[in-house]
Symmetry: C2
Subunit: 332 residues, 2 copies
């Protein structure tokens, strides 16, 4: 089978040179594992961190390692009582045509709730990240103004909709008119700002969030975040989920200092990793599936066809090619 491997550590913006597609033997599942024919594969911004040698929250990939990521597919061999051949599952696998999953870590996929790619987005890790990041860290209250950066991504689009379900005013930053139209017209955001159409984000926020910002869910960092910090209300909460603007920086990025602003606002800024909420994943999935099934929670996936194009799909995350969740179709 074909499987992508990590060829070399990138400096700055990654290129195709970091990826190597090899022919390898199909793996054999051990006790408690499943062999899955991969239908869809997830590429995510956090993977850039795994390309670095230094320690981070995610274990770095060693050069030569198979690339890992979320997959959804069909069980072709089962070494676990809970799954049978033919079952559809999602879990942590590899960028390859077949992948071995830890059955205890895998989750069943119900195609009646949503098509398979959604299990890598709104019903997968990004959806859970949005759920816990917004509700636990952001702690939104009815009437709050919630601002989301990277709002048209898999996490951001879910955050904004959950905030609307909680009675908040929601403002999103995204990078194309197509994306802001989706947020405002499709998802019910109260305002959506195309950050590539202006560089005066503070004035844009004065219009979109005239009462200031109570919750900021940050996927991006950089100048958008700098502007939002100047608009934080007293006791505001900032959930730091991602900083994609800085993932390719080779030096520590600099910018306006934010701590002086926090004293007057008494704002709370907190980083989050979804893995910290693992004991509550089942409850989150149940709620998210309910919302998706009822149509209260909309979602999009951007699909790139063919395992051979997975690196391009990953690289496109850094130029904002995706609307909603970026996935790769490996097989029908």
């Amino acid at each position: 089978m074909r499987a992508w491997h990590f060829a070399e550590r990138p400096e700055g913006e990654p290129t195709l040179d970091s990826f190597d597609l090899r022919e390898v033997d199909r793996p054999t599942p051990r006790f408690g594992e499943l062999l899955v024919r991969v239908r869809y594969l997830s590429v995510d911004p956090y993977m850039r961190g795994r390309m670095r040698a230094g320690e981070s929250y995610a274990e770095p990939w060693a050069v030569g390692d198979p690339l890992e990521g979320g997959v959804v597919g069909e069980v072709v061999e089962s070494e676990h009582d809970g799954y049978e051949v033919g079952d559809l599952v999602a879990g942590r696998g590899t960028w390859s045509e077949y992948s071995v999953l830890d059955a205890d870590d895998a989750t069943p996929v119900d195609p009646d709730v949503a098509a398979l790619p959604a299990y890598l987005g709104v019903l997968g890790m990004p959806g859970r990240t949005a759920y816990f990041g917004l509700l636990d860290v952001g702690d939104p209250r009815p009437g709050d103004t919630v601002v989301v950066s990277g709002a048209a991504g898999a996490v951001g689009s879910t955050v904004g909709q959950i905030a609307k379900l909680n009675g908040c005013r929601v403002v999103g930053f995204a990078g194309t008119d197509e994306k802001t139209a989706w947020l405002a017209d499709g998802l019910g955001f109260d305002a959506a700002i195309n950050y590539k159409a202006t560089d005066d984000y503070r004035t844009a926020l004065d219009d979109a969030a005239p009462g200031g910002v109570d919750v900021y869910f940050d996927n991006v960092g950089g100048p958008i975040t700098d502007a939002v910090f100047t608009k934080l209300n007293v006791d505001a909460r900032v959930a730091v989920c991602g900083q994609i603007a800085h993932y390719n920086d080779e030096r520590v990025p600099t910018g306006p200092r934010t701590l002086p602003l926090l004293i007057a606002s008494r704002a709370k800024v907190e980083g989050l990793l979804v893995s910290d909420y693992a004991t509550r994943f089942d409850a989150a999935r149940e709620q998210l599936e309910t919302w998706v099934a009822s149509g209260e929670l909309d979602h999009r996936e951007t699909v790139v066809d063919g395992l051979e194009n997975a690196p391009d799909a990953f690289l496109g995350l850094f130029s904002g090619d995706n609307v909603g969740k970026q996935v790769v179709r490996v097989a029908e």
Copy 2:
């Protein structure tokens, strides 16, 4: 009587030009107020913020206004049942020989617990700031490593000792060998770093806090804070109490971005203002007085003599002239 007034807004580092000593009539207390002969007057870094025209958490002084601040003194006229002539009180007054205090906002002073200047420091606003900032925002647990910047100041020296009382390892940053000696030998800090004797704060922290930082109580900002942020442990708490390194900045200061660091550490960074804890001030004062009376909580005051020297005492805060609380002796 003599009273200091605000003469002009400073740009950058304040000078004596901002201060004007005038002869004015002694004020008359109204119902619910006390006229106090001021014995000691407090000068505090936050007052720099009141010198700015822009909105902040503290109301800006208008040019020509009397300067306000904490005072301790003796009641000479009482328009409140709870106080008699001759009582010693602390409260919010003015930089002047006599001052009118709101009796409901004033607190009794017991010279058997501590000498009068302590009621402007460890038993006053700075002590309460340390108490709530460390215990509520910092949330220290036994065995935690707590780092304090501005550690030899009124707030910092109290923070470090309360952290020790809570079973923590405590590391302080201060700017002279005299100060670090007081922290390490007098107050029982586990380590004290003279930040003027090195500019490699990260290496200094590797030695002083080899297990990383669980709680950072920041009074200062700037390069010390930048270094501490690189050492935050998972689930660390940062209490942003002051940013004296930036109070005289006329432009938004820049520095290394800290948000990318917060994702891996899931650290929580929160600004604090002691006024948010007003409903619990009595409990804090009782606890702080108990610790001071028993000798568990040590304190120092740096006394400048004479109301005429109050501006110099204030300006000295920005060059670190004070050990412990900076006060001005107005009368014996």
